[in-house]
C-alpha cells in the first residue's frame, strides 16, 4: 500500500505537527509532543474532558478538541494506546480545578495507561472514567460493557463536552457521558484493509468481491463475510441489528452517523444514508442532526460504519449546543 509519508517512525509526529499548523485552535504539548489540547488553555472551574488512543483514526480523537467538546487528547503510535506520560500530561492540561473526565474507547492499552495516569495524579486531580462501548459487533448485548468504542464515541464527546461547557460538575458530566455511550450503537463493515506505516502487510486480507460485517477498526474479524451485495440490503441488515438494541422506553428521536473508514467516498456514504433514512422512517424514528462523512477512520481502510444515537430530551439539547472543534462545529 502506498503512503504519502516520509518514514514510519516520523509518521505520527509529522501528522500531529501538520494538524496543529492547519488548526491553530489546537496546540501540541507534552514532553514527547503527544498531547493535543486547546490552544486557549483551560477555563478555571470548568470540568475537563480528555480522550485519546492510538493514531490512525483522524479526525478521532484530536479533531474533536475544542470548546464544547474535548479539552485534551493523548496520542499513541498507530493503533497502539497512548503511553502513560501522555495520559498524565493530557489530564493535567485539561485540569481547570473542577476534575477531569477520562472518556475514551474500551481498548486494553488505553485503559491501563489512563488508569495509571489517574492513579499517578491521585490527590492532585479528581478523575472519573467513562469508556466508549458502541461497537455492537464486539461483544454480545449481555456483555455490552466489554464492547469496544468506535465512531459513536463522538456523541459522548459532544454531549459531555457541551454539559461541561455549561458549567455542570464532574459527576453530572460523567453521568452525561455514561448516558451518551449507553444511547449509542454502531456497526461497521469493511471492504479493504489499511496498512500500519512500517508494517510489511495490510491489516487483513479480503477477496476483491467480498465485504465483512462487524469488523473492528484495526481490522479485527467481524461477524461474517459475504460477496458484495446491493447497498440497500447491507444497510437493512445494519439498521436491523442497531434497532434490535434500541433502549426500552426510547421515545423516537435519533441522530445518525454514517462514517467512512477512510477510503470510502462521500458518494457511497450518501447512498447508505439515503437507505438508513428510509428504514428509520419505517421504524417510526425521526432523525435529527445527521452526520455523514469521515468522522472516525482507519487511515486508508475502505468501509463504513453506521451509528445510531437514541436521544432523549437532555441528550438532544446537548447535541444541538455550540461546539468549536475543528471537525465538528455547531454554532
Amino acid at each position: 500500500m502506498k503512503k504519502l509519508m516520509n518514514s514510519a517512525s516520523d509518521y505520527v509526529d509529522e501528522v500531529l505537527e501538520g494538524l496543529v499548523l492547519a488548526h491553530p485552535r489546537l496546540s501540541l504539548g507534552g514532553s514527547a509532543r503527544r498531547v493535543v489540547h486547546r490552544a486557549e488553555g483551560m477555563r478555571r472551574g470548568k470540568v475537563g474532558i480528555v480522550s485519546g488512543g492510538g493514531s490512525g483514526h483522524l479526525p478521532l480523537f484530536t479533531g474533536y478538541v475544542g470548546s464544547g467538546m474535548l479539552d485534551a487528547c493523548s496520542i499513541g503510535n498507530v493503533f497502539e494506546g497512548p503511553n502513560i506520560d501522555s495520559c498524565i500530561e493530557a489530564i493535567k492540561l485539561a485540569d481547570g480545578g473542577a476534575g477531569v473526565l477520562r472518556l475514551y474507547g474500551n481498548y486494553g492499552g488505553d485503559r491501563m495507561n489512563f488508569d495509571m495516569a489517574g492513579e499517578f495524579l491521585e490527590g492532585e486531580i479528581e478523575t472519573t472514567t467513562v469508556l466508549g462501548t458502541d461497537d455492537i459487533a464486539s461483544a454480545a448485548p449481555e456483555e455490552s460493557a466489554k464492547r469496544r468504542g468506535v465512531a459513536g464515541i463522538i456523541y459522548a464527546y459532544k454531549m459531555a463536552g457541551a454539559h461541561a461547557e455549561e458549567g455542570a460538575d464532574l459527576a453530572a458530566v460523567t453521568e452525561t457521558a455514561r448516558q451518551a455511550v449507553a444511547a449509542t450503537k454502531t456497526i461497521g463493515l469493511a471492504l479493504s484493509p489499511c496498512q500500519v506505516p512500517g508494517s510489511a502487510k495490510p491489516t487483513f486480507e479480503i477477496a476483491a468481491d467480498e465485504f465483512e460485517l462487524g469488523m473492528g477498526i484495526h481490522g479485527e474479524p467481524g461477524l461474517w463475510r459475504s460477496k458484495m451485495k446491493p447497498a440497500d440490503e447491507i444497510v437493512d441488515e445494519m439498521i436491523g441489528r442497531l434497532l434490535a438494541e434500541r433502549p426500552a422506553g426510547h421515545r423516537g428521536r435519533v441522530s445518525v452517523l454514517v462514517n467512512s473508514l477512510g477510503a470510502t467516498p462521500l458518494e457511497e456514504l450518501l447512498i447508505l444514508y439515503r437507505r438508513a433514512c428510509a428504514k428509520l422512517g419505517e421504524a417510526g424514528l425521526e432523525i435529527v442532526h445527521p452526520l455523514v462523512g469521515p468522522y472516525a477512520t482507519s487511515m486508508e481502510m475502505a468501509g463504513a460504519s453506521i451509528s445510531i444515537c437514541f436521544l432523549d430530551g437532555a441528550l438532544e439539547r446537548l447535541l444541538a449546543a455550540p461546539s468549536g472543534s475543528p471537525f465538528w462545529e455547531v454554532k
Partner: protein, 204 residues
C-alpha cells in the same frame, strides 16, 4: 553461576533483540489472526529501546529495571507493552538499591510481576494470555537456584503452557467474540514470551 546483575540484564537484552529479528513477523502474523497484527512490531520497538537505554552506568539493579520500565512505557501504550512495563517496574521496586539478586529469587520476583500484571490488566489466569505462560514459568522455577536449570525449566514450562492453551478459547478482548476461532491459534503475547524465554535459555 553468578548472580543476576546489570550485565545479566544487558546480555539478555542483546539476546532478545537478536531473536526479535525473526520473531517480529511471526508475532505480527499471530496477532493478525484475531487482533490488530502489531504485537511483533511493538515488541521489537520496545526491545530496541532497551538496547539504546543506558543501564550499565550504576550498580543499582533495581534502578536498571526501572529504567527499562520507563523506556517500555515511553515507547508504547499497547496492552502488552504496558504490561511489560508494569512487570519491570514491580521487579525494579523489589530489587531497588541492590547490586545483585540471586537466581533463587527469580521465581518470586516473577510472581510479584505476574500479580501486578493481573491487577493492571484485569485479565485472569486461564484467559489465554501472556499471563498463563508467565504463571507456568513462575511455578516451574520455584525453589530452583541454578541459572542453567532455571533456564531449562522455564523454557520447558513455557512451551508446555503454549501447547496446553493452543486448543483453548481466548477469553479477553475482541478475540473473546470469536472464541471458537481462537481455538488452535497461539495467543501472540504468550507466543512472544515463550519464544524469548527459549532464546534466553539458548533453546531456539
Amino acid at each position: 553461576m553468578a548472580d543476576i546483575r546489570i550485565e545479566t540484564l544487558e546480555n539478555a537484552i542483546r539476546i532478545a533483540n537478536s531473536r526479535m529479528a525473526a520473531l517480529e513477523a511471526e508475532l505480527n502474523a499471530a496477532d493478525s489472526k484475531l487482533g490488530d497484527g502489531d504485537t511483533g512490531v511493538m515488541l521489537a520497538r520496545v526491545l530496541g529501546k532497551f538496547g539504546e537505554t543506558d543501564i550499565g552506568a550504576g550498580t543499582d539493579l533495581g534502578a536498571a529495571f526501572q529504567a527499562l520500565a520507563r523506556a517500555a512505557a515511553a515507547a508504547t501504550g499497547s496492552s502488552l507493552g504496558t504490561l511489560f512495563a508494569t512487570a519491570l517496574l514491580t521487579i525494579g521496586k523489589a530489587t531497588k538499591g541492590r547490586e545483585t539478586a540471586r537466581w533463587s529469587e527469580l521465581s518470586g520476583l516473577l510472581e510479584a510481576a505476574l500479580d501486578a500484571m493481573i491487577r493492571r490488566g484485569g485479565a485472569s489466569l486461564g484467559d489465554k494470555t501472556v499471563l498463563d505462560a508467565l504463571d507456568a514459568v513462575v511455578k516451574a522455577t520455584a525453589g530452583l537456584a541454578d541459572a542453567g536449570e532455571i533456564a531449562a525449566e522455564a523454557s520447558k514450562a513455557g512451551n508446555a503452557a503454549l501447547a496446553a492453551f493452543l486448543d483453548k478459547p481466548c477469553k479477553i478482548g475482541r478475540a473473546r467474540m470469536f472464541a471458537e476461532k481462537s481455538v488452535g491459534i497461539d495467543d501472540p503475547g504468550m507466543l512472544g514470551f515463550v519464544r524469548l524465554v527459549d532464546a534466553l535459555a539458548d533453546r531456539d
